[in-house]
Each structure stands twice: as structure tokens, then as C-alpha cells.
Amino acid sequence: MRTSQTTTGLSRPTTDQKISVGTLAYINARNRQREYDIVIKEFEASGITQATLANRMGKSPEVICRLLSRPQNWESDTFSGLIFAISGGVPKYEITYPIGKAEFMSGLTFEVKKSSPTVGGFTPANYKLGELRPVGNA
């Protein structure tokens, strides 16, 4: 029978004890890679060029090239801006609990969804600041 390393070894924070920088390094590095994979997958599926993406975002091609070159510590605005500019998409956020839920979360699921990019008919290509209009009763 095969030997697999399956135990997580990470413990869920339960006290006010500082989380080690090693643990945070692991968590953050994996998050960076996932954000990167999402953006690259969306970019490749879109078929647009880096030049088009640069135009949409109002950035130089060099900046876009650098942003897409590897996983990195993007600001939240950069991540959401890339997704929207590529395809009009918005990230869907979901929290998972791979090492167990906190007591206060017992029996609950939690998901944050953002509005559909099609609401209002905006696409990155024709989007301009100032065109936003309230939907329904403001």
C-alpha cells in the first residue's frame, strides 16, 4: 500500500496567539497562485491580446505583460480590474474551511456573490465611467 502524506498539520486559529509567518506564507502563496490561475484562464479563454487588455485598463503593455508574467501580490483592485477588463466578469468569493469550521460557523455556509456583469449591459469594451445608472429604485 502506498504511503501518502495526508495530514494537514495546520491548526485553525482559535486563540489570540500569533499565526506564524510560515503558515501565512503558505496560505498567501497558494492564494496568489489561485488568483493568477483564474486570471490567466480567463485571459486565454477570451482570445484578446495583451495590447487590448492594456488599452482597456489604461495601462502600458509593459505593465500588463508584467502583471501576467507570474503569480504575485496583486492588490485586490488589480485582480478585480483584470477580470472585468478581460471578460466583464467579477470574482465570486467563497470561503472554505479545509481545517475545520470555527464554532460560530457550525451548521452555516457562507458565500459572497457579486452582481452579474451583464446587469446594465456593460462590457469592458464599451464601459466608461459615468455611464453607470442605478438599477431599480435608487
Binding site: 502506498r2 498539520g9 500569533k18 506564524s20 506564507a25 503558505y26 502563496a29 497558494r30
Partner: protein, 177 residues
């Protein structure tokens, strides 16, 4: 003994020489890739990770390995020399020996970690040695040699996977440039 039987014997739980590394957490139960590691590597990438710079570096190392197993997009270079500094996986000389360097290039204010090994088959990698990059220093070829010797200790005459192009080694990669 068949090639696959040799691997299975090295993974045998009675006296394992290699360990199949499962991500600490994963998006899916089925992972797109497989990573086998030596006991030396398993020892340093098994949490907890310390609240020190070394712990931070080893946390990044484990993240690299888990991202590999989870099928993350990897930047790969087949050029042992002249590759971009943030390349994630690169061939090492001599190329025909089919050995590769896992390149953990963060935290940025460190020289990173290198782990050496070879592909077993498409999307399956065996990492046999590791070191802090500064500990390797100018003896990089020696470090690669040590990895090849470790491979021979484990697999005898069984050689690493070889392919005509990168598609024979990996899915979901891009060429570092």
C-alpha cells in the same frame, strides 16, 4: 521489476523511501498532478511552519509543491542558463539527464529554495533533494549531481521520464521568457 513496480515499492508503507504528497488543502479530491518527495523533503514541508524567516521560506516551498499537485499554471524553462529569475521550474544541465530544478523564488529578500528531481511521467514528478539556494552557492552542478546520485539510489537503472517537448512532461504551463 517493472518501472511502475519499482515506484510502488518505494512508496510501500512498510518501509517507504518516497511519499506521495497530498496538498494541505485542495479544491478537488482528484488532483491533476502527482508529486513524490523524499523523506528529507517531507520533513521540512510538513507543518507547522515556524514563525521565522526559515519557516516562511519552507511555507513557500510547500505552497509550490501543493500548487503543482493542484495543477497550477507553472512557468517553465528548458534553458538551464539565461532563464528569467522568477521561473518556477527549469531544466538543469546536463539536459539529457532529464533533471529539473524546482525554483522557489520567494520571499523576495531571500535567495530562495531549490529542489531537484525528475519527471516520472506526464504530470508526475519525483523531488529527491532540496536546499536553501545560498547553501548551494556556486556548487550548483554538485547539487544536481547529488540529486542524480540520490535518484540512482532509489531507482537503480530506471531513468527519468523523457519526452520530445514540454507537452510530454506537463500540462498547464507556459514558457518563461
Amino acid at each position: 521489476m517493472l518501472r511502475q513496480q519499482i515506484l510502488e515499492s518505494l512508496l510501500d508503507e512498510d518501509r517507504p523511501e518516497l511519499f506521495e504528497l497530498k496538498p494541505i488543502f485542495s479544491q478537488d479530491d482528484e488532483t491533476p498532478r502527482t508529486m513524490y518527495v523524499s523523506a528529507d523533503i517531507l520533513a521540512v514541508v510538513t507543518p507547522p511552519f515556524d514563525d521565522t524567516l526559515e519557516g516562511e521560506r519552507l511555507g513557500k516551498f510547500r505552497a509550490w509543491l501543493d500548487d503543482f499537485v493542484d495543477g497550477a499554471r507553472l512557468s517553465v524553462s528548458e534553458e538551464p542558463r539565461g532563464k528569467p529569475p522568477d521561473t518556477m521550474l527549469a531544466r538543469v544541465e546536463e539536459v539529457e539527464q532529464e533533471f529539473w530544478s524546482i525554483r522557489v523564488t520567494e520571499p523576495a529578500d531571500t535567495s530562495g529554495i531549490r529542489s531537484f528531481g525528475a519527471f516520472w511521467k506526464l504530470d508526475e514528478f519525483v523531488a529527491v533533494t532540496w536546499a536553501m539556494r545560498e547553501d548551494i552557492g556556486r556548487e550548483f552542478d554538485e547539487a544536481v549531481h547529488d540529486a542524480r546520485e540520490r535518484w540512482k539510489d532509489l531507482f537503480g537503472a530506471v531513468t527519468p521520464h523523457s519526452g520530445d517537448d514540454l507537452d510530454a512532461y506537463l500540462t498547464n504551463y507556459y514558457r518563461a521568457f
